[in-house]
């Protein structure tokens, strides 16, 4: 195989996303250790890097077999968001392939080729960036291969290359026609075109069409392989006894009984706990219960949830870091006759993906091999390298499907490190470290709890006049390897969506305060937006009421200069028959929010029953995410975002009692079940803008939409999550 240095389009240097790239570089400290050469987007494939099948390689993202299978390398983690369909679509489109000849493989950990273009030299998945950062890159990769096939055909048939057509997997010119397979041996050795020509969007055959998912077949017959499912010769299962609280340490450990338990191979201490390594899960699980460990919990949190909320309220009553100041909110409020005040409380949440976290590791002398769903392979390589004394590039990661993540797998110093700590004490043996559900909830990294204090007013003629907002929460990144991403004095996730709100409020002041709590937090699907959108959208309805205006009409005025916001707002309102009468006992609420570049509006229809319980019966959703690469995957992500957002809005909370998390499993931490899932309708705003993400943006509006429907019905402001099931 002849692999050439095939450089393709990189990120637009003028893009605002370049900023997050720099932040990420700084944050992760990934300077050059992992980089080969200078460019972070070298698409060279080293000769030893052939992934699963040995087919002629066109570039880092694309192989074609002699029997016409097109194999696409997926550089992002598939956690259900549809990357194995969306990313393959981009290549298939430009290549001119048939959808049924497209297959995929997960790319190995290698930031020199598979970095997230928005994150600099870091490979990883998050921020709803998979399609957005790959949009030019993968289309270019597909177009380059198409031109190489055309060139090979032109040479073979002795015709001008420009006249060679490729469509539906067939290369043709006049009387000549051929499938890809017979041409790939030659085509793949040709020099890659420097500037392959991308298709005119009007010629798209696949992008924008409803085409079937690539992962449906193996996820419906039990053959899809997740980390839990890895079986290797001689593999052992490890379970870790963790302290009952974060920052706890083992003081005295008696392993005798556990060691003597049937099937146990070893008991090893690791920095965060004590691991039992056994022949199988059940043996490890039984033996773990036999460990006698005395924990030192002196460094742990001692407060309960009500004390923590009280501390947050106290912080919110003082002045915080002012992160946005337009006009003079204080003065405007002082002059207003009627000031609306609201104090919000939002709880900790757990990711609670159905697949508990797990990781398979085998440490050998000069290599460490891992099998798991890695959300940030570059970080995982660095951290495991540190633990094992290997170079990051000696850490080989075989990427697998993730049984959900919602942000949880994008973390540092966590389960991956624990697994490596165990495996390095048992070199040469594959170790599968698994967490039970209880381990997962206990060692969760929660969506931060938050308190928001708001004051607002409308002018006598019913226009929004002033908005003063103070958000208090724990920083997700401070004190972690991601700390470098914090710009300025405040972790932006605390105020995101608020300080950059799109409502034209003439006097707007946003303050934020970080509050230290000894609980581990992390990005949870849509990060700060997950709670902040609820606050903003329910407060807007309070202002609308004060202005005696319809919530949609009030928003339209404030979004007059935001055409994309208006687009989703109007579409959702129209499709939900906003303003038309509803059945008795049913009310409507609307919310609109932008996150990760994507606009979403949702209308919730809520029925309040005679016994004061309520059900969310129907949600109408409008989304503008630029070009809709796969409308059905977009709809699925909106449905899922709505379901998960509703789950949190109605019934999820992690609470602490004397510093100890009170929830342990799905009976006390209670995600939404099918009987609470509303009917969902998704409408996509047609757009020619570059695509933005959909994995997260469907989530933020729903809590506000439901809260506003309840407010419309009862007149009582809704300021606390979860809402429960009663008004």
């Amino acid at each position: 195989m002849n692999f050439l240095n095939k450089q393709f389009a990189t990120i637009d240097k003028n893009s605002p996303l370049e900023l997050s790239r720099r932040q990420f570089l700084q944050a992760t400290g990934v300077g050059g250790g992992l980089l080969v050469g200078s460019g972070f987007i070298s698409l060279t494939i080293p000769a030893d890097a052939a992934t699963v099948s040995d087919a002629p390689v066109f570039n880092a993202f694309l192989k074609i077999t002699p029997d016409n299978n097109v194999i696409v390398a997926i550089k992002h983690m598939d956690m259900g968001q549809g990357v194995s369909t969306g990313l393959t679509t981009l290549i298939a489109e430009e290549l001119g392939a048939r959808w049924d000849q497209i297959q995929f493989e997960f790319a190995p950990a290698d930031a020199t080729r598979y970095n997230n273009l928005f994150w600099g030299p870091t490979q990883g998945t998050g921020g709803s960036s998979s399609i957005a950062n790959s949009w030019q890159q993968l289309r270019t990769a597909g177009a380059a291969a198409r031109e190489m096939l055309q060139a090979a055909a032109a040479a073979e048939w002795k015709v001008p290359q420009a006249e060679v057509q490729i469509k539906n997997g067939v290369v043709s010119h006049g009387k000549h026609s051929s499938e890809f397979g017979v041409l790939v041996a030659t085509a793949s050795t040709l020099p890659a075109p420097q500037k392959p020509v991308l298709k005119d969007p009007k010629d798209f055959q696949l992008i924008g069409k409803k085409i079937p998912r690539k992962d449906s077949a193996d996820k419906t017959n039990g053959t899809a392989i997740y980390t839990q499912d890895i079986q290797l010769p001689g593999m052992l299962t490890a379970l870790v006894a963790y302290p009952p609280q974060l920052f706890g340490k083992a003081k005295k450990v008696d392993v005798a009984k556990a060691k003597a338990s049937p099937g146990v191979i070893a008991v090893v201490e690791i920095p965060r706990g004590v691991a039992v390594v056994a022949e199988n899960f059940w043996a490890a699980n039984k033996a773990r219960k036999l460990l006698a460990i005395e924990w030192d919990l002196s460094a742990c949190e001692t407060r309960s949830s009500d004390e923590l909320f009280a501390a947050c309220h106290e912080a919110a009553s003082k002045t915080g870091h002012i992160v946005k100041n337009t006009g003079d909110a204080s003065a405007a409020l002082k002059k207003s006759e009627q000031v609306i005040e609201a104090k919000y409380e939002i709880p900790y949440l757990a990711h609670a993906a159905i697949e508990p976290l797990n990781c398979v590791v085998k440490v050998d002398k000069n290599q460490c091999e891992m099998w798991f769903a890695s959300q940030m392979p570059t970080i995982d390589q660095m951290e495991v390298g540190k633990v094992t004394g290997l170079k990051p590039e000696q850490v080989k990661i075989n990427s697998l499907y993730a049984g959900g993540s919602f942000g949880r797998r994008a973390c540092a110093g966590d389960y991956v490190v624990d697994a490596a700590q165990i495996a390095k004490q048992l070199p040469g043996r594959a170790i599968k470290m698994v967490w039970t559900r209880e381990d997962e909830i206990l060692n969760a990294r929660y969506r931060p709890m938050a308190v928001h204090h708001l004051r607002g007013a409308v002018s006598p003629d019913g226009k929004a006049l002033a908005w003063q907002h103070h958000a208090v929460a724990q920083s997700i990144m401070r004190g972690t390897p991601f700390e470098g991403m914090i710009q300025g004095p405040l972790d932006n996730s605390i105020v995101e969506g608020v300080n950059d709100m799109h409502y034209a409020i003439p006097n707007l002041q946003v303050q934020g305060t970080e509050i230290p709590i000894k609980i581990s937090t992390l990005w949870w699907r849509s990060v700060g937006h997950s709670g902040n959108a609820f606050v903003i959208e329910t407060f807007i309805d309070q202002l609308a009421k004060s202005a005696k205006k319809d919530p949609v009409a009030f928003r339209r005025e404030l979004l007059a200069n935001e055409p994309r916001a208006l687009g989703v707002l109007n579409l959702a309102a129209e499709k939900a028959n906003w303003g038309k009468p509803l059945a008795a006992g049913v009310s409507r609420g609307i919310a609109v929010h932008k996150s990760f570049g994507t606009w979403v509006a949702q209308v919730a229809e809520v029925r309040i029953n005679a016994d004061k319980t309520f059900n969310v019966e129907r949600v109408v959703c409008a989304v503008d995410c630029g070009v809709a690469v796969n409308p059905d995957v977009i709809a699925a992500q909106m449905e899922g975002g709505i379901g998960m957002g509703l789950s949190a809005a109605l019934g999820e909370a992690i609470t602490l009692k004397n510093g100890v998390v009170e929830q342990t499993n799905y009976h006390t931490y209670t995600p939404l079940r099918i009987d609470s899932m509303p009917k969902v309708e998704v409408h996509i705003v047609p757009s020619a803008e570059a695509p933005t993400g959909v994995g997260e943006p469907g989530l933020p509006p729903i809590a506000g939409a439901v809260g506003n429907a309840l407010f419309a019905a009862t007149g009582k402001p809704v300021t606390k999550l979860p809402l429960g099931n009663k008004v």
Binding site: T220, Q231, W282, A353, I354, G403, V633, K679
Partner: protein, 161 residues
């Protein structure tokens, strides 16, 4: 020695009798289509059929199923299962997919006893199966579609679910 019948095949296993069926399937027999989610009969990821009835394999000791006929997703081929699987694929129900073996096992069991379930009956039968990706909306639609498909086959060829 415990003898088991899994997907129609008799198996003799030398195993701790209190091992949950789930771990026999996964660790001993390497049949990994059946998943661990909670280990407490709360999520349904581990659903298998025991003499045709959906059960949570994480919470049944293997000693309790010695005389039963266990079906896992790997061995399913009934008319109802095929209709369910096809509907799941037609509607692209899956997201992360991790819960879906369990969902499909529960849905198949429902359609084996109720040919034309209503939304309420679907919700009741499926409410033991969590999906954190919240694919519920499509699950409901897919079960209706599978029921319709079975109905059509039955009326044309007189088949049985």
């Amino acid at each position: 020695m415990i003898s088991l019948t899994i997907n129609g095949k008799k198996q003799e296993l030398d195993i701790d009798p209190d091992t949950p069926l789930l771990w026999v399937l996964r660790d001993e027999l390497h049949m990994t289509g059946t998943k661990l989610g909670c280990g407490m009969a709360l999520c349904g990821a581990c659903t298998v059929h025991m003499d045709g009835t959906p059960v949570r394999s994480c919470s049944i000791p293997v000693s309790a199923v010695a005389n039963a006929n266990i079906q896992t997703i790997e061995g399913m081929n009934s008319v109802a299962f095929q209709a369910v699987q096809k509907a799941w694929r037609d509607l692209d129900v899956v997201q992360c997919g991790y819960c879906q073996s369990g969902q499909i096992m529960s849905a198949t069991a429902l359609l084996q006893t109720n040919k034309k379930p209503t939304d309420e009956q679907i919700d009741a039968a499926m409410s033991g199966n969590l999906c954190r990706c919240a694919t519920y909306h499509r699950i409901r639609n897919a079960i209706h579609q599978a029921a319709d498909a079975i109905g059509k086959t039955a009326s044309t060829v007189g088949g049985k679910a």
